[in-house]
Subunit: 345 residues, 2 copies
């Protein structure tokens, strides 16, 4: 079976995914009877194109990485914008990887709504729509018989949403705690090693983990958006980022970390969700945890999530030193899940 793929957003993650797709083409055909043709790509600054014959993904990657416009690719037609792309491109799957808008989750939510309305399956790595419009989009997907998948929104390609959906059937998630933001964890573990907050932040920026403006990470907003995504999907909440009781890591002092480390204690920015009699309670705050615990053991950019369940007790999943390839893998994993689901119908 051949699937027509369209991309809105073609940044680092989508390009890493494009490389994996190209390298694994024959494996996907053999193992999943999954063939693909890329029929459209929309970007913010390099144009928006379609090609019914299929766009060569590696040429598109090369085009963007050398700063050229996509329209320079052979046999491509320019489109005015992503709205036209969704309307006209007859895609089977749309990969939505535009940057997060933490205030309104737009235009990603509109892209996804518009595609699902047309019965186009969605794979996204953008957590905004999950934190701001999950219930609506999930219901729309279900009405239109389309898949709505987003494994890459929390902990990259590490199974989190798929873990609960596929591997914990019949069990209920009662709560969770997690270290979900790489920038703050890199800063905290840098400070544990004796470097200052500013030095550690600068290192995170040098490594491309933190943005030039890192306030969004440092003040716990990124972790809060992920907390809401987890609660909405895993605990049937209908929360928004503003519902999270949130505290960032600005107040942490080097000397506090020094004495904590000496006592076998690590400080981590911990995201928590808990089912209470008044609904789901969500917090993000620095916490002291034992170094010898799952949350204490994750250092640098590593992440961890502990799930508390009714039937399976407490289990945790940990991702070590993720890079952009791991987020790209989330897109692949979601695409294969969609293919497998199609076979099952």
């Amino acid at each position: 079976m051949e699937l027509r793929l369209a991309f809105i957003g073609f940044g680092n993650v989508a390009r890493a995914f494009a490389r994996i797709l190209t390298h694994r083409e024959s494996q996907l055909a053999r193992d999943y009877d999954l063939r693909f043709r890329t029929t459209a790509i929309a970007t913010a600054r390099h144009g928006c194109i379609t090609s019914s014959d299929g766009i060569d993904l590696l040429k598109a990657v090369d085009c963007l990485e050398s700063g050229r416009l996509l329209a320079e690719l052979d046999d491509s037609l320019s489109l005015p914008d992503s709205a036209v792309l969704i309307e006209c491109c007859n895609a089977d799957i749309l990969f939505e990887t535009t940057p997060l808008n933490p205030v309104s989750a737009e235009p990603a939510t509109s892209h996804i709504r518009s595609a699902l309305t047309r019965g186009i399956h969605i794979v996204t790595a953008n957590k905004g729509p999950i934190a701001f419009a999950y219930r609506e989009l999930k219901s729309l997907a279900s009405q239109r018989g389309a898949s709505f998948r987003f494994e890459g929104t929390v902990m990259d390609g590490t199974p989190v949403f798929n873990l609960v959906e596929s591997c914990l059937p019949g069990a209920r998630v009662l709560g969770f705690s997690g270290v979900l933001n790489s920038t703050t964890n890199l800063i905290l573990t840098g400070m544990e090693a004796g470097r200052s907050f500013q030095e550690s932040l600068a290192e995170a920026q040098r490594r491309g983990i933190a943005e030039a403006d890192a306030d969004y990470d440092i003040d716990g907003w990124d972790a809060a958006v992920k907390t809401v995504a987890l609660a909405n999907v895993l605990m049937d909440s209908d929360s928004r980022p503003s519902d999270v009781d949130r505290e960032g890591i600005r107040g942490i002092k080097l000397e506090d970390l020094k004495s904590a480390t000496a006592a076998g204690i690590a400080v981590r920015l911990v995201a928590r969700g808990k089912q209470t009699s008044n609904g789901v309670k969500l917090t993000v705050a620095p916490e002291k945890v034992p170094v010898a615990s799952v949350l204490g053991s994750v250092r640098g950019t590593s992440n961890a999530l502990v799930l508390e369940t009714d039937l399976m007790g407490e289990i945790a999943i940990v991702e070590t030193d993720p890079g952009v390839e791991q987020t790209a893998y989330a897109l692949l994993s979601d695409m294969i899940s969609i293919r497998t689901g199609m076979r099952a119908v």
Copy 2:
């Protein structure tokens, strides 16, 4: 849809599962259109019965726990043995939970072979058949269109086999390392706390974690059988427990642990599998690991497995303080997976 269930083995795990099944009956009907009727139970010392009207699971549990014979239950017919049960009971799913035979994996392997040959789906918590006959049984299941599921064989109901099957599609497992045996981990962490080997072992026996004869755990055989199960299923190996380079924990001294702990080091019985140019290499041995690592962080009866993959890098899954309910959950999870798979056909 109603599924006819049969049990061979009705020990702690099967009885905990019977309680979950009974308590969750309406949830299973509602969420999975899964109704069930227990048509046969075989035990080693309490007889073997069938009833076409269905056996009341809680009454069967009560019967065994008060030391009576199953034949005392109303409307039940006695059967000579489990072979007749498999032959005559028209079960849809057979739950095989007889005790492990670490030398030959019998009679569990014969039970499973015989049931699969008749197209009966298998759910087992017995790791012997996975370590001794996985390739044959898997192929037989596939020929007969039957499911062969065994999540409970390693790390209880924590998703391990299902994690890779359902949540890491397209990725390849290149290796693993894990703390998989609860008795040795309880002894090692007891010794870290200053208690002697013998005291710690006695505590494990008091808590019902270790058998009266704990050599099988202490000498690393239990971990070796699990290592082989992981390698056979996740890495397409065809290994046997005797292929594992195995060392137990008898050589560990209290004073070694004391100095290790002071240096932030934990000693764990680590099971490893690795893809090499000469096939899959398997080891079980005590190793020094940082306290602040996933393997170092698991204490007492907790278990952890770190998977090294090609596309997703390194991820780990951790189970905290499991009990018999978590193994019972594995049976439920496998049963729901079979039901979901039937819907998909």
